[in-house]
């Protein structure tokens, strides 16, 4: 093939330098040598200009972002916590007011079946509130 053997061509490819017109003609005509040249080209690692202080600069740049992200997460949690606390206080106050109102309206009502049901509801609400307060939000427990 153009007076050039596949071995000669492959050693020229492995040498790395430029190929002559005759060598390119061989590459074009010979499937196996084209394959060898493509593989050689893909396996040659491109020269990458990595600045000496690249790793240090990247590492120095990230903590600020991490702190910011963490700060934003805490801020969101605080807003949620404040809203939740107000909700809890309101619910507790409503339950207390309801019980007092019923007692003053008719003390005997608490001895009836309806009264017992209401006391049960109030007690389970208070237990639920206590459980809720005892639990932390999953996002608050991270890091």
């Amino acid at each position: 093939m153009q007076g050039l053997s596949c071995e000669q061509l492959r050693s020229a490819v492995a040498r790395g330098g430029a190929l002559t017109a005759a060598e390119w003609a061989h590459v074009e005509a010979c499937e196996a040598c084209l394959d060898a040249w493509v593989c050689y080209g893909l396996e040659s690692k491109p020269e990458a200009k990595i600045p000496v202080d690249f790793a240090a600069r990247v590492a120095a740049a990230v903590p600020g972002k991490r702190e910011t992200a963490r700060g934003l997460r805490q801020e969101n949690t605080e807003v949620r916590s404040h809203g939740r606390q107000w909700g809890l206080l309101t619910a507790m106050a409503l339950v207390a007011v309801g019980l007092v109102a019923m007692t003053f309206a008719d003390p005997m009502v608490l001895n009836t079946r309806i009264g017992l049901v209401l006391i049960g509801i109030a007690a389970s609400e208070i237990a639920g509130i206590a459980l809720w307060l005892g639990m932390t939000h999953p996002s608050e427990g991270r890091n």
């Binding site: 074009e28 491109p46 690249f54 590492a59």
Partner: protein, 181 residues
């Protein structure tokens, strides 16, 4: 502070791969900004990293994503290729007799042609070829990185190589025709 030092070690350990792969996939020589983006994405995701996959697999994935984003950005910009295309103007340079007339393509020119042809493949074929040949990843590693079945990786590799050869053959033919003219 120790976290910073640890992360610096991670960057130092993997920066070679990241720079090389970005350079190959984008065809640019200066990829520092893109490499920085890769490591920033890596850092931002560290909280979610549970060690189910290897760090390198994850980093490969981020690098490929950043390279793909860069491709998309370039496509949007539709830059005039004559300015940043290293492949452009070959025929004229060759026929103009610059350099040794016997050597129709210098090594850097032929590598640029290869990169250009690589750039014409689809994302998956390009990524598979680079990970397999340049980074010497196994089929299994590539499958894990690209979330592809093993057989699909093999198909992309063979199809990608075939397309690459076809494109290079076409280019060589075109250039030889110009040289003869």
């Amino acid at each position: 502070m120790s976290t910073q030092i640890q992360f610096e070690e991670v960057v130092r350990e993997h920066q070679g791969f990241v720079f090389r792969t970005l350079a190959r996939l984008t065809g640019a020589s200066d990829v520092e900004d893109l490499a920085q983006e890769v490591f920033l994405r890596l850092y931002r995701g560290l909280d979610d990293f549970r060690g189910e996959a290897k760090l390198t697999t994850w980093l490969y994935r981020i690098t490929l994503n950043v390279a793909q984003d860069e491709w998309k950005r370039r496509k949007k910009e539709q830059v005039n290729t004559s300015f940043d295309d290293p492949d452009a103007g070959w025929a004229e340079r060759i026929s103009g007799g610059e350099g040794d007339a016997e050597q129709i393509l210098s090594r850097s020119e032929s590598m640029a042609a290869l990169n250009r042809a690589l750039g014409e493949l689809n994302d998956a074929e390009r990524a598979v070829l680079v990970l397999f040949h340049q980074e010497e990843c196994t089929y299994e590693q590539i499958a894990l990185t690209l979330s592809l079945p093993l057989n699909t990786v093999r198909t992309h590799l063979h199809r990608g190589r075939r397309k690459l050869k076809e494109r290079l053959k076409e280019r060589l033919g075109e250039r030889r025709a110009v040289c003869r003219a």
